[in-house]
Every structure is written in structure tokens, then in C-alpha cells.
Symmetry: D2
Subunit: 453 residues, 4 copies
């Protein structure tokens, strides 16, 4: 039995004894199982595998323990994956990531009582919590440059698309922009990899490659090798809020349902009238050959949310330099706006996010069936409901709990008015046809059926 | 009417909107008046005056305001003292200190509800609060070197003594030790001043000159010009705990009742059996000509607490090099002990401090009269009670509230068994005789009478 | 006509007026034409093209000027390649490289009178010059870690080999080793690229990617995008000396004649009896499928220089981790040896290099024909002569001057005893057969004929 | 016999073997005796004594050796003064200073062949040498802020004057200005000491306290404890040139003949027509009570060099804040001028210094007698000659060689036209009367007689 003890780093190296006690109290909680799994995912950083069962299977006898010292807490790994070690020493980046998981899941989890209690009632409090988590992660320091670009897109894109995300990242890096993504492979890794080369050429030595994950997704998308700041938000909604308040602009690459979910989330927020003045750089881009994806998305948005939604983003095909140049110019407007508003450069306080976008949506057969999927509501509400529908499908595809539900009860049923449902159906089928639902090599079995009401 | 707005620095530059709201809510509280006064004291940094009325009189129309921005909080000064400005710009050190006051008094004050609520019930919690405040002040970072020396002593010592404290500081600085004192002039400034020269010669570029104050004393002892880290603990007891847990060794220079209070506090703790193993460097020192002071103190300690108390400290007369060398050697033992105990280098968790030493003692005519001043109790309890008696006298001498009480009700009455009270009387008279009760130039009127029970 | 002026950086930002005058005096020299060409190569950094004529053709109207200011010297670029700019701003890395060229070619060129005078007579002086150039380039600072690995190998290797060099670089980077290569694509880029990922994972923030070039080769092998320190040595021999004195270990990947030249150079030195005690990590490695290359080399070394030469290196096939682990262990011996010898960690003074290895060999039809290629000499001399022969072939293959000579006079003729010449012939043919003589896509026309004497 | 070996630091830690050989060759030279004495002075840093014989007497058995290692050079001290050590370890600042002496005296001495050869013929070359020495000392890096203030004044000023120089330094430090002086006590230490407090309050962490000395003066004025950069120029004239080209403004405090020499040097240069456009902040200042000094100087300047000379400086009495404020404003003009001229911020290339001010003046009875001290010459020439006369008197007062000459041949004789000589006489007598010729406590015996021609 191999055992490795790790000294705390970062924020976790300065804990009070009461805080350490509380961490230890969490050892038997449900949260701790999640903690163990996230750590296991982190220890598998860089391994390309999105089937969490396949990933975790070899490590059934992996354990993680918290060891109390007068001076604070240590982590003990029992039978950890060999891949995280170099000549018997844990890779330093992985070491840091493990304590990021401890910080975000257990320490902040204790502070905000994730899971055990209902979520804080007021939206204001949720934004504060998001801020507080980013602050503890030291993600706000050094975010004053108005140059953090969030990149969304699929984790299982093809080689041409992957290469394209690298080129876009390279062009962003050449312009001193930092990259923030969702942590995994594919479109979440490519821009980071490209940016490292751009940063190197520009001698930009403090390049940031921020990965924002959440407990239910990290197993499927462990942080890639480039991520040098890992943050784990407690649920999807807070993760999405972290993206849009921390980032200064957003680029969407081809992806699957998850990417569509993110896009609908952002559209729903930007269509809020109180955000009408917000300059928010928002670019959809992909290589020649991937037009189909954006056409399908754009058609869907146009048909469901209308041209005012389409006006929120810009589609650029096959031109990485143009993407970076456009982003660069629009960031100037963001800077001006923040200055004029008295808003922080490092955190977008002034962006209004309604509670419906903040409250966790927990996909079950009931909650999915209950979604209001009809055109007879405000565009912002419609965006919110579509976002939830797609969120549920992501869960059914890759998340442990979602998959378990599908196994037990069969596919989720989505119902709504027939015109709308047809558009949803068309979009989802286009994803399946473009092989955007799974890592290459496996056939996709849909976790949902679309019904007309 | 002159107005100056200040942007936040340090921890205070990253506040959430809820936190800012809470700060603003404090604007009308009693705490805010204290905040205003502490800021005024900080703005008078470096001015030699221990009469807070004389210090504050010219600034009746001084106001301080908190201004809310989307991005956080700003401080606005109305009619601030000119002395804090250079060519119309606020001195950067003062700027930092003001936000330290905001952090410790209002931000931490909100967190721990100072004043408004009763103090936390358990000793453990108090230690955690002390730790948390030092952590927020970033005082623990960089305190791993086991080289922070706390210097106690009077603020109104004579020139020979002052020069001696500089020489000791110089020798400490030459040995790469940092200085932590109570913030004001005299023995609190000299060691810092000397250490800057020692540090300069040794190219020790990160010299720390930590001042730990508390709201009721800061007006009388504003931070001297050298202090580069200011921390304001909510009350005397937490301030004393901060000294002994943050510092790695303690030097006591000649002083008055306040110094005697500090010395009794430390003796009381070190005499606790559970601290018997703790190596705790503790040196009393002064120049030739000040022997009388230490003789009086040592005689008093011997007569009241006995030789086991005397064994806790070492008296070195007129030999700055020997002081520094001795300290240096003993720090090695501290380092070993912390390592062996698994204790932190930056914070002495393993030192046991009983609740009686942690709970605030609020000196009133009643509480002073009620003190158990007789030999018929454990040495540690006796030390605790004597400490409180001296604490009350300090309040009656220099603190606003204490002085007001004395004005209204006459001197505090101390009662106890006659043998003990005689020793107390002798010690206090020796202080008066040595002119250690007030800044030079004014005659001392005792704020207490000693009665035999 | 586009003009861009550049302010000096690094060492070149602090020149005296006399030094600036001397730089300007060089404007009309032959050296200046070389300076222009090197700058042009640097401006094409990252472009994959090893035919200097194809590379330079589009830039006939490119000019470079030195502009004198009271404060120092500026560079003016006229009609520079667009590829070096991002949104009209020169890439900072390229900016730095241009001043590295100015420093090494003109400033140091003036100091040591490159080209204009005969080379310094004594070997000692040459070593001093090499040291001085590395010192000016600030390459010695930060080289104390005994972790700089020189990687040699071809610039036109195949994809499998390229990927392998990246993997080796990755494993070296994971072990905190820095990379030094000859500056171009292929085996000179792969290890650097891999190391950046290894360094990122280990949070090794000061990763060094040193490129050492020389004027006649830089056009064919412009610095790749990763190089963050560029050094241009005046000739091949000083470049080779810089490699072996700056680096702490050497890895040889598959390559062509140039790689064979480097290998023979190092073998010749290590076989010197005065270097018998020197631990010098020296590993030949390549992926599965490239064994043929090492077999040919090893057979040639065995047949010509004997088993004592073969004992100087270790061949590891298809095991990047083993390469890095072996290197890591051997570096410990280097560290011990340097310590024991009182030698510098940053520069290998104690390695003995005979004058025959230091004096420039200028390949002409005469000098090539005059080479002593027979077995009837010491092994070290034989290695030196073989090295020269291969050096000439490199010139005939890729260097402007060499190619011009071949065009004019036909192939170089190599003569020697038939047994030896046969072995040379076999080796060279194996290179041709393995397509190691040119970038893929062009057929190789030999620039030499082998004759038996 | 106590021996201490020191590893090289700074520039001296990277020497080539040829450079080390040359250093060792210097071991038997006359320069080496000077090197030994400068080192002894440095080892006595902070000791208040301006009689070099008294200073050196206890250390007759002190020796210094250079030890050659493969990797470079070490210094060995034999029987060094105890005062430079703390607990058997050499103070780091002193350690650095010793290698500064080695660098400037032996390394640069070898490079420029000080003493052994005649000085370089052309003025241009001298300026280049001054630049080169400052560059090697890394004094130019970090001098771009146009905020280095040179302070001249006596080393034996009274307590009121000393305190005043501290206050001026404090006000300069509060305005982020750095201090450069001649290295010793008195007016050379006060401004540095004051500035450290000003810098501390403004959190100016890179405060520079540059001491520029020369071999014949360093024994009498060893670097004070604050100096953190020591530079030793080969002779007085190069030291003066270093002051005026490195500094951005000059403040003159009360002093003696040496101070008068410096003042005349600067006036002579500023009166050069080619410097007419140069803004050069030049302030004479002292406390109330020292007016007499400036009146005497100002009267002398007015009477000899005329009102155009008086217009070059500004006299401010007893107002440290006004001094600093004035300096601060004038530095803005310097910044603009340098920008407009294309001159460096870190070194004043554009200031014209005639050869007569650059060539070493070696005071002997002959050269002193030969000085042209009459009004019948240009003002600039007159200033140059008066400067030399005063330079000779400084030598006769405090320099070893000068004192020896006076002992042997009696006082220097100065001759010139009677009107001028009377003014000289008056000025010098006023210095004697004000006790500005020697450290307090000793009577002054003039080393000169003034004769009318």
C-alpha cells in the first residue's frame, strides 16, 4: 500500500485549528466522497478519457485522508495513480490542484454549507459567494488587465477543430490575453496550448490558464496539463456565473449540448434589458468545415430567440487573427465601460443575472418533464428554460448521477409546443450527426426523447 | 473644506458588495467613532504627543467617510491633518495604515461583532479570532523564519534608554531579526529604528516593523514612522495574545505600569504547567543607569510569584550584543521545539493561554475594587489578577475612558492583603520616582490608591 | 516604404558613445551584411523553410540601419517581414533577438575583431572569448543549477521522430531541466516544446530555451518560437565549444551530417586523456523505428574510433522517461565533480579542448581535399579530421558560401585510405537513404565525392 | 592568525580565467597596496575617525590575498578588524563593498591601466571610462527615474548641521529621491540616514544610497553604514565627473575646502557656454546659524566668478521642505530636457566637460606653486584653477601622500594677483574660524600659505 503525505500550499497552508477541525468533521460527509473523486480526477490530469467509470475503475482502492497537525492540515493519498508522479514525486501542479479541490470543496463547502442546506435565498448572496470563492482562489488578483478570455466548446472536437482552437489561442496569446476554460481536453485545452506559445513569443511571463470546473463534471473533464489555476464551483450555475463575471470576453468553439447550454445561458443574460448597455465581447468561431455547426446554432437562436439574440454575438469562420483582433478591440470598450461605471476590472459586478439563472437546476425525470418549453413566454425566460433542458441532457450524457437515472428510468422526456420542439429536435440531431455527443469511437445513444405537448 | 479620496489597498481592495454594505451600515455605530479616532491617530503618525486630547483638539472638524463604488469602498478624509501629506499627496505608509484600520476595526469588527455582542465564549474561539486577524493582516506570511522579536517597554523613556533600545534593535537587525512592538514612540520606536540600520548593513531587504495596537491606546501611541505593518486588535487581551503567538521571543525594556502589565501577563502564561516545556526567549534589558528599574521589577516578581517566575526571564544590563546573541541562540530552541511539536513556525498554537487571560478585563471602580489581590491563590491566578490591576492603572493614566472615570469618581481603589499590597505600592512608587508614569515635563497624579483589606 | 524603429533592450541599452560610434563604423563592413541577414532570419522566426534563398527572396528591399542617439543606439527596420508583427507591433521576443544579434555580431564582433583579423592565437583566449560572449548574453546567470541539457539532432526529422523529441523534452521539463539547442526546427524545436509543458506542470517558471546559432547557419535555421535566449557565436567551433561548456549533459537525436559532426566533435574531446575523469552525460536516443540511424552511427564510431569511444555514450531506444531519469542521475555526478574540482557550475572550465578543435575550419575544395582521412593517427586526431570533413559537407548542403562553391567547382573531394573512406561512404549513404540530408520533398544531390587515396 | 575566505558577489562572481590571472598579476603592484588600504577602510565602515593613521594603526598585521579557483577568484582576509563581523560572520554589506573595491580598483584598474600608464588622451575616452565604471557597478540600472540627488558637504559638520542634513534627506526621501554622496560621515551620511526614514514611510523599497569614493580619500572617509552601493573612481576628477553625470541634481551643505572644490568644479562646468541650456538643479543649503558659511562662499563666487556664476545656484536657508520641493520641480525640467535631447536618463552624456576638468591634477609643491591664480583669464579657467588650488589643500589636510609632502617640505605656496589672493585668503580663514578644516577636537594647522605675486 503506497502512501504519500502532502503539505498544504496556497490559502490552505494557513488554517486555524477550528477550520482544520471543521475540515476533519467533513470526512464522513457526502461531500467527502465527492472530494475523493475530484482529487482522483485531478490525479489523472492530462489523461484523455471522458468515461468516468473507465477512468476510476483501476483506482478502487484509492483513498484520501486529512491529517491534522498542530500547524494545520495535510493530505494523505493512499494508492494514488502513478501517472501523477515523476520519479516518485508528485507533480507540483497536481499538488497545487489537490489543495485547490480541498479549498473549494471542503473549506468553502463548510463556509457555505454546500449540499447540506438549501442554497442562499437571494441572488445577491450567490454573487457574493461566487466572488468570495474566486477571491480565495486568488483568481481576482492579476485580473485587472481586462484580458481574460473565456473559451467554451466541446471536449471531443475533431483534429481540425482542435488545431483551430490552438491557433485562436496562439493569436490571443500574442495579444497578451489569458485563457479561462472549463478544464478538460478539446476546446478547453487547445486555446491554452496555443496561448502558451503566443505568450512565450511575447515574453508574457505571467500567462494564466484558468480552469473552472464543478464536482459533477471534473471526473469527465479532468484539468488538462496547461491549467495553472484550478477552481471548482459548487454547481453548474455558479460555474457559469464565475465564467461571465471573471472573464472579459467569451469565445465559443464548436461543441455539443454543453456548449449550447453555455451559449443559451449567456444569451439569456445579455437579453436582460438591464444589461443592454454592457459591452460583452462574444464570438462564435470555428475552422472551415465547421460552418455547419454555427449555422445550426445560429438558425436555432434566430428561430427561437429572434434576431435581437443573434445580434449579441458575432460569427467568424476560419480566421484566428480576426477573432483575436476583434476581441482585442472590443476589450477596449469593456475597459471604458467598467471605468465609467465605477465597476471593478477584475469582476463584473454590474452584469445583472436574474435568480432563475442562479438557482441550481437539478435534472430529474420530473424536473425535465416539467420544463416550460413553449414560445409563449419572454425571450429571456425561454432562454433560461432551454438552457435547463440542455443542462439535463449533458447530465444524462456524462455525469454519474444523470447516467444512473437514465439507466434506471429510461430517457428524459422533454415536452413543449410542437414548433419549438421541432427546432430543438433538429438542433440535437445535428449534434448527433456531427458526432458532437461523445468522444470519438463510441456510438451515441440519446438520453432524451422530444415529445410534442 | 479639504477633501481627499483614497483607493483601497491590500485586502480591502477586494471586497464583495455585501461586505461593502456591511461596512457602510457600521457608519453610524459606536465602532465608527472609534474608527474615526484611530484614523486620526494614524494621520498623526510620528507626532510625539501622548495626550490624546492635545493631539485631537486641532482636528475637531476632521471627518472620515466611506464611499461606495460598484467595485468596492473608498475612504474620504475631510480636513485631515497636514502632517500626513507631502506636496498634497498622502504619504503611502499612512494610506496603507488607514486601510489597515478599516480592515481591523470595521471589516473584522463586522465579522466578529466586536463590542455589539459579548465576546466569544470559548478560549479556542478567541485564539482562532486572533489567528484570523493576523492572517487577514498578512502578518503570518513571512513569519516562518522564527525571527520576530517583540519589544515591550515605555513610550516615555529617557534619552539614554532610548538610545539603548536603538542599539539593541541594531544588534537584532544585524542578526536578521524583525521587530514587533506596540506602535508608539520610545521603546516601541527605538528597536525598529536601530533594526533598519542593522538590516541595511546586512542587505536584509524584507525587514518587518510590525506595530500591534488596540483602539483605546492608539490615540496615545500612534504608529511611529518606521512601522510598516499595522495591526489593531480589538482589545488589550487579544493584543497581548497576538504578541505572544506571533513573536518568537520577547525583550522587555524599562517602562511603566503598561510594561509591568505585559510582563505579568507573560509570566502568568509561562507559569502554566502546560507550558512548562515551551522554550520562550524572554529577556529584560536596559542601559547602565537603569538597573534600578529591573531590580524593582525582579524584587516584586520574586516576592510575589517566587523564584520559579524569576527563572522564566533573564536580565542583561547594558550589553546589546549579548542580548541579541542570547536571543539568537534561544531561537534555535524555539525552532526545534516547533518542529518537534508539529506546530507552525508563524503562529504559536501550542502555547496554552487560559481563559482568564483571554477574557477582556474592563477596568471600572467596581471591577478594580473587586480584584483578588492576595497571596492565597495559585501563582498563575495571582499573576492574572496583578496584570488586571496594572491594566486598570494604564487605563486611568492614558486612556480616554479611564481618565473620564477618574475625573468623575476619583482614583481607583485597590485592596488586598497588606503584605502584597505593600509590594505593589513599593513598585508603583518606584515607577513614579523614576518618572515612568507620564511623558517628561508633566507631574504625575496617581489614578489609584492602594488599600489594605 | 515601411519603417520601424526599435529601442535597445538588455545589454545593448547601456552603451557608451564610443561603443556606439564603433557600431556605426561597422555599418559598411562585410560584417554588417551578415548582420542584416541574421536579423532577417530572426524576423522570420518560426517560418519552416531551410532554403535560405527561398526564405530571403521576398525581402530584397529589406534594410536595417543603426540610428545614433545621445543615449545610445536604435535599430531601424525598413520593409521588414510582416510575419514578425502582431497588429503592427513587433513581437517582443523577436525584438529581443534582434538586439541579441546586434550584441553578438557587431558589439562583440568589434571587441574581438571577428573576421577582420586572424583568430586569437591561444586556445586559452578562445575559451575566454566564448565565456565572455556567454556572460554578455547573461547565459551564465541562472546556469548554476546543473540542469542545462543540450539537444542535438536534425532539423528535418520525420513526424515520429519529432514527436519523440517532444516527449523527451517533456520528461526533461518534468525534472526541471532546461533546454539548449541549435535554434531551428525539428530536433532543435521539439525538446523545447515538450519542456514547456513539463515546466508548466511543475510550475517551473524560469524555464530556459537557449538557442545557440552562428551566422552562416542561422538563415537556414532561424530561431524557433520557443527560444527565449538567443546567442550567436562567430563560427562553428566556438558554437560547439559554447554547447559543451554551457551545457551539463548532451542528448543526440537522429539527424544528418551536422549531427554527426557534433557527435564527432564531442567524442574527440572526451577521448582526450586529460578529460578522462570528466563525467559528461551523453545519450543517443530516438523512437522505435529509428534504430537504424544509431546502429549506423555506432557501427561507424566502433569501426573508426573504437570501443573506448563507444563507451563515452549510451544509446537508449524509445524510452523518453529512461532518457530523462538517466540524465538526472548523471547530473548528480557532474555536480559532485564540479564541486570537487572547484569548477564553476555555470561554465565547464576544466574540460580540456585542444586547439585543433578550436581553430575555425573553413571548408574549401582545397581544405577538404587536404584532410588527413586515414587510420594512421591518434583517435582524437582522427575524430578531429572526420569532424572537419562532415563540417564541410554541412556547408556544401545548406550554407550560402558552401553552396556557391559547389555550384562553381563541383562537389568536394574527400580522400583517404580506402578502408576508412568506405566506412565514411557507408555512413553518408545511410543518411541519404534515410532522407536525412534535406527537408522532406526535395531529392538530395551529394555535395561531395569520396575517393580512395 | 585569523583567516576568512570570501566568495565573490556581483560582477566579480563571473570572471574568466584570463581575467583572474590578470587580477593575480596585480598582487605585487603598487595598486595592490592601495587595494589593501581601501579594503581596510571598508572593513572599518561606520567607524568615526578621519585620521587614517589612527584608523589603520591597529591593523598593521592585516593582509588581503586573492585566491584563484577554477571557477574564479576569492578574497582572503588575514587578521581583519573585528568590527566588520557579527558573531564571526562578515556583515553582508561589507562583503559586497570589498568586492566593489576589487572590481573598481583591480579589475577596472587592469582594464584601464590606472597609474601604470598616462591617462587616456582624449576627454571622450575619459567620459567613456567613467560610464563603463558606473555600468560595471550596475549604478546605471535603476537610474532612469531622474531622482538621484548628489549631496556634497563636510564630513566634520556640527550637530545642528548634521541634523539639518538628515532633515533634508528625509524630505528628499519622502519625495522618492535617492541619495548619492562621497561615502563618509557628516553631510555624506546625514542625507542618507534621513532618506531611509522618508523612503520607509513612502514604502519606497528600492532606495539607493550610493557612495562614490576614490582611493586617496576612502581611508579618511570610509563608507558609512547606510551606503548600499559603493563605487571607487580612480581619481578625484573622475569621481567628480561621475557625480555630475550620474546625479540629476546637486545639493551643497556646509563643508570645508573639499566642498569648495566640488562647488568650483561644478560652477566651472556650468559656466561653459555649451552647457548654457542644461537645466542643472544646484542648491546650497544649511540650517539657521550656518548662514555665515554660504555668505562667505557666495561672496567669494560673486567677487571672483561674478553674478553669472551666482545665478547657477540657489541658496535656501533652514527650510528642508523647500529644498526638496524646489529640487522636485527642477527635476521635471531635467526630465524634459533629456527627452528633448535624446539623452539618457541614467547618464548625462550631453553635459560638456572640458579636458582641463578631466585631467588629474596631482598636487605637489611645484604644481601648486605653478597655478595661475589671477583674474586675467576666462571665468571658466579661473574656476578650474581655483578648484585645483582647493584640491591641493584637501590633499595637504587629509590625504596620506599630501600630508607626507607637507611634513617634508612645509606648506604649499599659492601665488597670484593680490586682489584675488586676498579673497582666497579670506575664504580659507573663514573656514578655519568656522572649524571646518578638521574633525572637532583638534586644532587646525594650515597646509598652505597664500602669497601675492
Amino acid at each position: 500500500m503506497k502512501k504519500v503525505q502532502l503539505n498544504p500550499v496556497g490559502w490552505m497552508s494557513q488554517l486555524s485549528q477550528v477550520e482544520v477541525s471543521r475540515l476533519q468533521d467533513a470526512t464522513n460527509s457526502e461531500l467527502f466522497a465527492m472530494f475523493r473523486n475530484c482529487c482522483l480526477a485531478v490525479l489523472n490530469s492530462g489523461v484523455d478519457e471522458d468515461n468516468f467509470e473507465a477512468l476510476f475503475a483501476p483506482y478502487e482502492n484509492f483513498e484520501i485522508k486529512l491529517i491534522r497537525r498542530e500547524r494545520g492540515v495535510k493530505i494523505e493519498l493512499v494508492n494514488p495513480p502513478e501517472v501523477a508522479f515523476v520519479d516518485e514525486k508528485l507533480v507540483r501542479g497536481v499538488h497545487e490542484h489537490l489543495f485547490a479541490v480541498l479549498r473549494d470543496l471542503l473549506y468553502m463547502g463548510n463556509k457555505y454549507a454546500f449540499l447540506h442546506q438549501t442554497a442562499p435565498a437571494e441572488g445577491n448572496d450567490i454573487t457574493d459567494m461566487v466572488f468570495d470563492m474566486l477571491r480565495h482562489a486568488k483568481a481576482l488578483e492579476g485580473n485587472d488587465g481586462v484580458n481574460t478570455i473565456v473559451c467554451w466548446g466541446g471536449h471531443s472536437i475533431n483534429q481540425v477543430e482542435y488545431k483551430y482552437t490552438k491557433e485562436v489561442g496562439y493569436q490571443l496569446g500574442l495579444r497578451d490575453m489569458n485563457i479561462c476554460t472549463g478544464c478538460g481536453p478539446g476546446a478547453m485545452k487547445g486555446p491554452m496550448k496555443g496561448a502558451t506559445i503566443g505568450h512565450a513569443k511575447q515574453r508574457h511571463k505571467t500567462g494564466r490558464y484558468i480552469g473552472i470546473s464543478e464536482p459533477s463534471i471534473i471526473a469527465a473533464e479532468p484539468p488538462n496539463a496547461i491549467v495553472n489555476e484550478l477552481i471548482i464551483m459548487p454547481d453548474i450555475e455558479k460555474r457559469l456565473e464565475a465564467f461571465v463575471r471573471l472573464g472579459h470576453g467569451i469565445i465559443v468553439f464548436p461543441g455539443g449540448v454543453g456548449t449550447a447550454e453555455e451559449l443559451l445561458y449567456l444569451l439569456g443574460i445579455l437579453m436582460n434589458e438591464r444589461n443592454a448597455q454592457q459591452p460583452f465581447p462574444f464570438i462564435l468561431t470555428g475552422p472551415a468545415g465547421s460552418e455547419e455547426y454555427f449555422e445550426a446554432i445560429d438558425a436555432f437562436v434566430g428561430a427561437t430567440l429572434g434576431p435581437e439574440a443573434q445580434a449579441k454575438y458575432q460569427i467568424i469562420v476560419n480566421d484566428p487573427e480576426e477573432v483575436a483582433r476583434t476581441m482585442s478591440k472590443q476589450l477596449e470598450k469593456v475597459k471604458k465601460f467598467r471605468g465609467a461605471m465605477g465597476d471593478a476590472f477584475s469582476f463584473n459586478w454590474s452584469l445583472k443575472i436574474e435568480q432563475d439563472f442562479q438557482q441550481p437546476f437539478i435534472p430529474t425525470h420530473e424536473s425535465m418533464a416539467a420544463l416550460q418549453l413553449h414560445s409563449d413566454q419572454s425571450k429571456s425566460d425561454l432562454a433560461a428554460n432551454l438552457r435547463k433542458a440542455f443542462s439535463g441532457i449533458v447530465a444524462g450524457n456524462v455525469k454519474a448521477e444523470g447516467i444512473a437515472q437514465i439507466k434506471k428510468h429510461g430517457p428524459f422526456e422533454l415536452t413543449g409546443d410542437s414548433a419549438l420542439m421541432e427546432k430543438v429536435d433538429t438542433l440535437l440531431e445535428s449534434f448527433v450527426k456531427q458526432h458532437r455527443m461523445k468522444l470519438p469511437g463510441s456510438a451515441y445513444e440519446p438520453c432524451y426523447v422530444v415529445k410534442n405537448s
